[in-house]
């Protein structure tokens, strides 16, 4: 049985700020958080169940492997209906596993990416159900990427 929850994923720092600035989206829905570091989790825990998966990127393959399996474990346990992420690499991994287990994937690319989609965004793009850039000129470069506004 699949849950109806929305899985909200963002790394510590700017990714999380951007995600939380659209919190109106999930106020009447079932949701849980996935973030990268303890320092950003304290406030999240007060609102909903929060998983900490660690930080990772392509320069640290071993660390990335650990995050990869932690993300898989969360997806199997929670079976969210939707994964919504602002990045970075852990967001990609949650979207990847979520998609394999039947979740819809929404990717809001960080406003930091002013010229092209983030690396994670480019990897998610072929199988994202909704993908947004916060710059019109970036969205215009890809057939299925939309620009509908910005959160910062």
């Amino acid at each position: 049985m699949k849950n109806n929850s929305v899985c909200l994923v963002a790394s510590a720092g700017g990714h999380l700020n951007q995600l939380l600035s659209v919190s109106e989206i999930w106020k009447d829905r079932e949701y849980f958080f996935v973030t990268s570091l303890e320092v950003s989790a304290q406030n999240l825990k007060k609102q909903a169940k929060t998983y900490i998966v660690g930080e990772c990127n392509r320069e640290h393959p071993i660390q990335t492997l650990g995050v990869l399996f932690r993300c898989l474990a969360i997806i199997i346990k929670e079976r969210p209906r939707v994964v919504l992420s602002t990045g970075a690499a852990p967001g990609f991994l949650m979207c990847f596993w979520g998609k394999l287990f039947g979740a819809k994937v929404i990717w809001l690319d960080s406003i930091a990416n002013t010229r092209k989609l983030s690396m994670s965004g480019r990897m998610i793009r072929p199988f994202a159900d909704l993908i947004l850039s916060q710059w019109p000129e970036v969205a215009a470069k890809y057939p299925n990427v939309e620009y509908v506004g910005e959160v910062i």
């Binding site: 109806n4 700017g14 989206i25 990268s36 320092v39 320069e59 002013t114 509908v148």
Partner: protein
């Protein structure tokens, strides 16, 4: 108090060292408090911590008079939110400070829009610090509702997510 922050990612000793040296040489007179991450360089001229919990981080931003940081959106968004003058120095891939050079593009874009000052290397910091006191960051009016509405309507189209 000037708040120096390098974010939650890997080290950025190049910026920490540069600011520390500007204090000891007298180019920065004001007190500086730094969040330096896991770098090897330990400042001698300023108070510092390795990391700050999110709400403490926001508190320090509110208290400071100006900011110096990497070109990460966590710092840039906070500076915009609290209308604090900010100088960013982008992390560069060639020094192993990030996985790519997107911080350079972020800095160029937000500088062009008048929200921040940017120093593209250590040498440019001195000049930009002189401008920091008088710099008035341009305020920003994001169309957040557009993003909220688009994602909400997508979720509603799935049905049963409530």
């Amino acid at each position: 108090m000037i708040f120096l922050t390098i974010g939650t990612l890997f080290e950025f000793d190049r910026l920490v060292r540069a600011v520390d040296e500007l204090i000891s040489s007298g180019s920065i007179q004001e007190e500086v408090f730094a969040q330096i991450g896991t770098g090897k360089y330990k400042p001698s001229s300023m108070k510092y911590v390795e990391s700050l919990e999110k709400s403490e981080f926001e508190k320090v931003i509110q208290q400071c008079t100006a900011l110096i940081s990497h070109a990460g959106m966590g710092s840039i968004s906070m500076a915009i939110k609290y209308q604090k003058p900010l100088i960013v120095m982008p992390r560069l891939k060639k020094y192993g400070e990030h996985v790519n050079d997107h911080q350079l593009h972020t800095a160029l874009k937000f500088e062009e829009l008048g929200h921040i000052l940017a120093a593209y290397d250590e040498n440019e910091l001195v000049e930009k610090i002189k401008l920091l006191k008088t710099f008035i960051p341009k305020s920003r009016v994001p169309n957040r509702q557009g993003v909220i509405d688009r994602i909400s309507s997508y979720l509603n189209s799935l049905g049963q997510t409530k």
